[in-house]
């Protein structure tokens, strides 16, 4: 069996410092089952050593390689060329939106990381707290039910802080002060009950109420965090908290 070979032109966003942005075009022979990040790496290795991009793990865990592929936010390490191009076609690769561009495809995510830290988003949490889907026992061998039931079992939390949701969010484009889907999801994950600091961050004009329910964050999230649903759930929590305070039953802070 011979490997399938496609010729694809990569239209890559370039920008260094204050200079005007431009696109460079690179024609590559690729396998359609390679990932977009593989092509970017090959461009760097064989065509242009000055191309700056960010990556680390190559398996959707580190969240470093988020870019816009044909105007849609993708983790390039798990986006096959087949899914975004055709043989003889063109693929546009651009940096994430709503973050300052440092160089080419690399953006400054410092604000997002600092905000995630400020809301104390935990890196791991008990398996029991994770909304894992129940695995159906289709083959009669693998057990149904949650993956593990040991009370001390922990897992990495779903959000990998890749920033795709922030890039896709239309509100983050128009309102710089908006807390954004990732941070609001991180607050919802912990709940605001009994946490006045988190509640104050979420229940304000640049918190949950700034969202205009476009659900673009949920559409691009590579990690099934569903920030859109979490923001709406956080609204429900915020409304409940306000009602409780109205009747003198909330926390006093």
């Amino acid at each position: 069996m011979t490997a399938e070979v496609w010729t694809v032109t990569f239209r890559v966003f370039r920008r260094k410092g204050a200079e005007a942005p431009h696109y460079d075009f690179f024609r590559l022979e690729v396998s359609p089952d390679e990932y977009v990040l593989d092509a970017i790496e090959r461009i760097w290795a064989f065509h242009d050593r000055s191309l700056v991009y960010r990556y680390a793990c190559h398996h959707a865990t580190c969240g470093a390689c988020g870019m816009r592929v044909n105007s849609v936010e993708k983790l390039t390490c798990i986006t096959t060329i087949r899914s975004v191009a055709r043989d003889g076609g063109e693929v546009t690769v651009e940096p994430l939106r709503n973050f300052p561009v440092i160089s080419d495809l690399t953006v400054d995510m410092g604000d997002l990381y600092r905000s995630m830290e400020a809301v104390h988003y935990p890196a791991v949490s008990p398996v029991a707290a994770a909304p894992l889907p129940t695995i159906p026992a289709k083959d009669g061998i693998s057990p149904g039910g949650p993956l593990r039931e040991e009370p001390d079992a922990h897992r990495l939390n779903d959000c990998i802080e890749c920033g795709l949701c922030v890039s896709a969010c239309p509100i983050a484009t128009t309102t710089a002060g908006y807390l954004g889907p990732a941070v609001l999801a991180a607050i919802q994950f912990q709940g605001i009950s009994g946490k006045p600091a988190l509640a104050g961050l979420a229940d304000c004009e640049d918190g949950v109420w700034r969202c205009h329910s476009a659900y673009e964050c949920t559409a691009v999230c590579p990690s099934l965090v569903d920030p859109g649903w979490r923001i709406m759930d956080l609204r429900k929590q915020a409304i409940g908290r306000r009602f409780r305070r109205l009747f003198g039953r909330g926390e006093t802070a």
Binding site: F13, R14, A20, P21, H22, Y23, D24, F25, N70, S71, V72, R97, P170, T173, T174, H212, S213, A214, Y215, E216, A219, G228, W229, M232, D233, R235, K236, I239
Partner: protein
Amino acid sequence: MSVQTRSPSRAAQWLNFPHRGVGMWAFAMNRLSALGLAVYLFLHLFLLRQLAEGPSAFDRFISLVRSPLFTLSEWVVVVGGLYHGLNGVRVILTSLGVAVPYQRQMFWILFGIAALGSLAFAIRMFTA
């Protein structure tokens, strides 16, 4: 090969046509209809001011707004109001945490009702 480009405008980034989903379209149309209805409200109050200028001025005004162009404009107001109100129901429900995973289906159902309502109004307004 290298091609110069300009940074896209914020409006273009906001809309990101055509790469957005149903939720974004619902939001964009909601915003558009809201602006339209707000402008209409001011126009409405401004034009009704003629009531204060006596019966003959108001009769002249009424004969003006009976023109087909005004009927069409009124229909546009009805369409905007129907869409904005019905999508508002969806936004209220999801904001209370209700049926958020079904926001797409809810959009299409309410959009369908708004479309049927608009059609009903069109038949009533343009055939009478």
